[in-house]
Structure formats: structure tokens, C-alpha cells
């Protein structure tokens, strides 16, 4: 099963401390060693983002930043795992690192399953 993990937090938090960066690098390395992490990446700030929206038959393009967004996706990773529980376990470990190395930080990791062929069982 494939999962996407998205980390959401307020952009005003600024850059993570070095200890966290190191700990995350280690976690990434471990995830690589266990063959579970397929890819990962960080996203540029919302000030650089653009939304193309279709509403009431109109397509509009709006540049960021967007004031209504309290927490935004800052990074993602894609994992091949055996179960959702395994994803939850991984996300908890990831958040533990934030707890340990970045006092006061708040945010969340959202786990979304990426659907594969096994999720569309053949019609009998």
C-alpha cells in the first residue's frame, strides 16, 4: 500500500533548528534502509504559490500568499507500506522528532493512502 504523508504547519514558524534537520536526515536515511520511503520533498513557501481555480464557470488565477491558510503543507513523503497502521507508526515517530528538537512547534502530519490497482477490485 502506498501512502503520502503531508506535514502541515504555520509558515510563521520559520526554518527548523539544525538538530531537527539532522534527526530528520537520519530518519530519512533509516526509511531508505528499510526500503519503505519512495520519495520525499519540501515545498516552497506559499508566497511563491499560485492557484488556478474553476468556479461558476470562471477560471481564475491567484498568486500567493493566501491569508486564510493557517497551516499549510510544507513537505511530503511517499511510502510503500504493509498497512495504514505502519504509516501511523511512522508519522508518530516523525512528530516525536519535532517534539524533541523543536520546542513549541505545532503542526500535523496527514496520512493519505494513494490508491493502487488493488483498491479497484476486478468487476466479477
Amino acid at each position: 500500500m502506498r501512502f503520502m504523508m503531508m506535514v502541515k504547519t504555520a509558515e510563521s514558524n520559520g526554518a527548523p533548528p539544525k538538530e531537527l534537520m539532522d534527526a530528520m536526515a537520519k530518519l530519512t536515511e533509516d526509511a531508505n534502509k528499510t526500503g519503505t520511503m519512495i520519495t520525499s520533498g519540501g515545498l516552497a513557501p506559499m508566497s511563491m504559490s499560485t492557484r488556478v481555480r474553476l468556479s461558476r464557470g470562471q477560471i481564475t488565477t491567484t498568486d500567493g500568499p493566501f491569508t486564510e491558510a493557517k497551516e499549510v503543507v510544507g513537505g511530503y513523503a511517499v511510502f510503500d507500506l504493509k498497512s495504514k497502521q505502519e504509516a501511523i507508526e511512522g508519522a508518530q515517530r516523525f512528530m516525536e522528532l519535532h517534539k524533541k528538537h523543536w520546542p513549541g512547534w505545532e503542526g500535523e502530519t496527514e496520512i493519505r493512502q494513494i490508491l493502487g490497482p488493488e483498491d479497484f477490485p476486478p468487476k466479477a
Binding site: 500500500m1 528499510t34 526500503g35 519512495i38 504493509k82 498497512s83 505502519e86 501511523i88 479497484f120 476486478p122
Partner: protein, 423 residues
Amino acid sequence: MAVTATDTHRAIDAVWRIESARIIAGLARIVRDVGIAEELAQDALVAALQQWPESGIPDNPGAWLMAAAKHRAIDMFRRNKRLERKHEELGRELQAQQEMAVTDFDAALDDDIGDDLLRLVFVSCHPVLSTEARVALTLRLLGGLTTEEIARAFLVPEPTIAQRIVRAKRTLAQEHVPFEIPRGGELAARLSSVLEVVYLVFNEGYSATSGGDWMRPALCEDALRLGRILAELASHEPEVHGLVALMEIQASRSRARVSSSGEPILLLDQNRAHWDQLLIRRGFAALDRAEKLGGMRGAYALQAAIAACHARALTPEATDWARIVALYEALAQLAPSPVVELNRAVAVAMAFGPAAGLEVVDGLTAEPSLKGYHLLPSVRGDLLKKLGRFDEARGEFERAASLTRNARERDLLLDRARTCEDN
């Protein structure tokens, strides 16, 4: 939301899957017996199942399991020591060894676990074991699969797999298989035994040899996971990267090779937009690593290079068949086999026309090892059909259908036999 016992059990399953290989590997180094190491780890798991629903899941569940297993190992050493006092014939040397082992325990467990995992891989795939036993033991110890999961994956009764694992562990103990990474001349042969097991698991998932499903994706994922772990553990071995490249690229087509009603779709008929570009990129990167290590003559790397030719082609017409023919020729020189020759025939037909391909295939019809192999008449039927020899083609497809054990594939072949009648 309240945490229920079921939630906790699910969480324990996940922790076990993530941590078990490392725990077993670390313990095996201390107790020098894979079977005992696994039992100790299992005991720790049982303790977790008893305690965690009450106490909650500890902050670092892996460390908890390791500590619990470690206590049990120390208990075992103490018991054995008492036993020794009673039976002095067991010898002082062993006792000293065990005392030292207890002292070294913490240090050993904190050491880089990578080497222990690699030792565990080599032991699980040791040639004293039958291939089936190697597969079962590897999935169990390295893949963290339960006996039930392995049994389901291979469509055999659970007691059969349980028996296989028990016997494998016993054989390893009886044969005094050392818990070590083979060196020198032995390494190549032992490594190929490991890679063979991983690829076998992958293939069983990729084109199930029996049963009602054309693919069993969970097995492919297990094999890929094992392969990726191996690529980190033995990163200087080009063939490991060759195998990983091959599996990543093959797996990239999983979504495209089954129709919505479960029928197989052959390579050239697949919707290439459904190929998983993420896995293709990973496959190319692994192939690159193999190449940089000078591994482009390895059998897995060559097969990966062939798979890469397909992955690179945006349309079937864009496939570099001449290069594929050359790669099959290299493969045939390295490991001559009628199956490779059959594949070469297909590539020759694509590069130089069906008549040229048929010539190669006809050279194989007398091959005894291909007698029951359904792909021989299937390929022959295909080439005959392209040459307009429909009656002969139909006969070949029907023969192929009678030879395959996979229900989905049989339907496909009978379908193709029917299309010959229309012409």
C-alpha cells in the same frame, strides 16, 4: 477517541513489522542461533501483546521490544549456566563464552545493526536450505511476515509453511551454520543465492504461477522492500542494484498490466501513461549504481537494462529493439538458457520481422526443458499469426492455454486462439 485493544494490537503488528528483523538480527549475533533469536523476539512480542493494551504503547516501542528480548536472552544464559554447573561436561569454554556474551550484550546491540541484518539475510538464504525453505524463512525473518501471510501468498496451507520454517531453523542449528557474512570466493555464490530468493518472491507476485489472480502485488512489494534493504546493506555489490533496478522497473508496470476486469494486458498493449514514473526513476537510478560499480555484465543488470529499454520508450514503436536483441545476446552468453533464447526470439521478431523471430523459435521446439512451458507455443502462435498462418497459430495458442496453470492467462490465450478463427 478511546484507544481500543484492537487498535493496540494493530499498532503492535505495525511495530513488529518495522522492528522485528533488526531485533532478531541483533539477538542472533548474541545467541548465535537464528531459531533461538526468533523465539526470544517472539516472547518479547507476546509480552507486548499482554502489557501494552494495559500500559499503553511505549514512546519507543522498538527499544522496548529489544530490551524485553534482551532480558529473556540473559535469563536463558543464566539458566544454561545453572545447567552447566549441574552438568560440567558441557565445558568451561562454553560458559566463558556465554559470560562474555552477556557482558557484550549492550555493546553488541548498539553496534551498527546493518551488518547483523546482512548476516541474517545470508543465513536465511543459506544453501543448506531448500529454495522453498529459504523463501519462507527470509519472508518471516527479514520481511516480518506471519506464517499465515506467507501461506496465503503462496497458496499453501499454513501448517506447511510453519513446518518449513521449523525445519529450516533446525537445519541451520544442526549444520552449525555460522552467523556471519561470507567472505572471498564464497561471497559471490552466497550472494546469488540471496538474490535468487528475493527475485523468486518478486516473480511469484508479478506473474503468479497458479491461482486465479494474474498478480499478487503484496508479494512484489515484499520483494522490493527486501531488495531495497539489501541494496543499502550490500551497497558495493553491483548485482544487488541490478536486481533492484529490474524489480523497480517491472513493478512500475503493475498498474498497466491488469485490466479493470482482472485480465492480463501484454507489454505492447499497455497504456504507458499508467506506468509508475516514480518507480521507473528509481529503477534507472539503481541501474546507474550497478553500472558505476562495473556491473553491466551481471544477469540481473542486463535484464534491468532490457526492462529500461521498454521504460524509456514513450510508445511501443519507439522501442529500441535492436538494443534489446544485443542485450539478450549478452545475457545468453552469460547464462545460456532456452527461456532467454525465447525472449531473444521475440526481440528479433520485433527488430527484424516475424520470419526472423520464428527461425529462432523453431530452433527451440525440440528443447526438452521447454516442453511444458506455455510461453513457447504462445510466442510461436503470435509469430505465425503475424505471418498470416492462422490455422497453425490457433493450434499453438490452444496448446499454450492447456499448459498454463494461471486461469487469467488461460482465458487470454483462448481468446487469441479465437481471433485466429476470424481470419
